[in-house]
Symmetry: C2
Subunit: 294 residues, 2 copies
């Protein structure tokens, strides 16, 4: 299957599973379900769950074995976007071309919908772990919980928060990106590798690939914030400059950032050498992220 | 050991464990740790973790077997208070006689500290489950995740949100309390019973006890909001009336609410009959909650 077909195939599986993931039936608070689904089904690249499915496929593991974990990571990603967009945080009105959650459902509901998605991520993984392969899934949950928490994504969000309105050096910027974006891109690859029974060396190679992918993803985001357009991105570009945030572009300039993006992506792909054609999707994904326009 | 000594003993174990529960060392965002600890160590009755420890003791299970889960539930409780106090939610300036989290650390940090505590709760349970008794602990996590999520506490918070500014009937009020407060009081008892290897009949009895305890707790809260004082409660009484919320007192009046509180407590204690003196702490706890002044 060619790359774009595969990507569509993964997205379809993920969307179907996400659409049926919220167990609320109680009429007293059906609006919570609407708020959760609004952001969960708002499109997006489904990058993280696709990484989980593609990693499993390297080991000839069926999508159904990792789909719960793939969706859980997308729930975590989605909750973080809802909370990030809040007036007290980035105060964004648009996300993926749609009004942000709090703009539609109000701030209180957006806070609770975010909380509920984070909790649902764990609920989903725990239930799945009880159906079999429990110890591997428990280990995969350990990776995800670390990557999502104060030692991972949330830590990065706090560094980001501290950095607004002042210049930060490259060490702090790297630490921020590694945690804020990198951790949750590493998580689906590592978790899926564990569930799929990857050996130590295979795990390390995939983990290194994912670390580079995460860094490349962030550099590209910083470039797009300067070069991208509202139509293509579905949100306002230039928001980093507006809040006076340090980015790869403010730190290294546009040309050096683009070079860095190429280098980091190449290094990432090199880690996949031992997997041969089984890692084609992961290779093409890395290349596609470099050329994306949103 | 008499009740108050036992209560102090449980609190000490819990406080010690909570104080060492946050793994952040990264100097770039040490303030997140401060924000998390600020609310986590702000005192309170430690009702939920004490319920977990006391339930384990019925089965002669050591505190160390359930302390991680006891603390995790307290983290979940604490995150929900931080988010509840936010300007977009209840907009409270004081909690337990101290400024609320966002008043000290700002709204953005309070949102993230809450998120981080919810995530840490799962991180803590997952790590503990990997050390042994894994399947029972996975089942206990399933109970906790259901009680904390959209089918439990968060669902109740949303019903509460919907109810502001309008009268709700007794069915909706009961549904709200069962979820908002009840679920997270049931969770430590049920989770601890599972980890401790309780039989089906024992589990049902403890679960019923906890359901009544949760209801009694909420009725008492509603009474205190009318009769309590700022000094004793550490927060402003009358906040329910101010936001025009329906409560047991607005629905049934003060006298009937007090009678209901006695009845519900008595019924809860009756479920403990088969445990004899091993359940003394749980019995006295139920009685103490009726007479509490904060």
């Amino acid at each position: 299957m060619i790359f774009t077909q595969k990507q569509a195939f993964y997205s379809t599986i993920v969307e179907e599973s996400l659409a049926n993931s919220i167990p609320i039936e109680n009429p007293y608070y059906i609006r919570l379900k609407e708020a959760m689904l609004y952001s969960l089904m708002a499109g997006g690249k489904r990058l993280r769950p696709s990484l989980a499915l593609a990693t499993a496929e390297i080991f000839e593991i069926e999508p159904r074995e990792v789909i719960a974990f793939a969706c859980a990571i997308e729930m975590i990603h989605t909750y973080s976007l809802i909370h990030d967009d809040l007036p007290a945080m980035d105060n964004d009105d648009y996300r993926r071309g749609k009004l942000t959650n709090h703009k539609v459902f109000g701030e209180a509901m957006a806070i609770l919908a975010g909380d509920a998605l984070l909790n649902l991520a764990y609920e989903t993984m725990i239930k799945d772990a009880l159906t079999g392969n429990s110890m591997a899934k428990l280990k995969a949950m350990e990776v995800i919980s670390r990557c999502a928490g104060s030692l991972g994504m949330i830590g990065g969000q706090v560094i980001d928060l501290n950095g607004e309105g002042r210049r930060v050096d490259s060490d702090e910027l790297k630490a921020m990106h590694k945690l804020k974006t990198g951790a949750l891109i590493k998580a689906p690859v590592e978790a899926s590798a564990i569930i799929s029974g990857a050996g130590e060396k295979e795990f390390a190679a995939l983990s290194n690939y994912a670390a580079n992918l995460g860094l490349a993803f962030q550099i590209k985001d910083d470039i797009l914030d300067v070069e991208g357009s509202m139509e293509e991105m579905g949100k306002k570009p230039g928001s980093d400059a507006q809040s006076d945030k340090s980015t790869y572009v403010t730190l290294y300039g546009l040309d050096k950032s683009k070079q860095l993006l190429q280098d980091v992506t190449g290094e990432g792909i090199a880690f996949l050498a031992d997997f041969g054609s089984r890692a084609d999707f992961l290779r093409e994904l890395a290349t596609a992220l470099v050329t994306r326009s949103n």
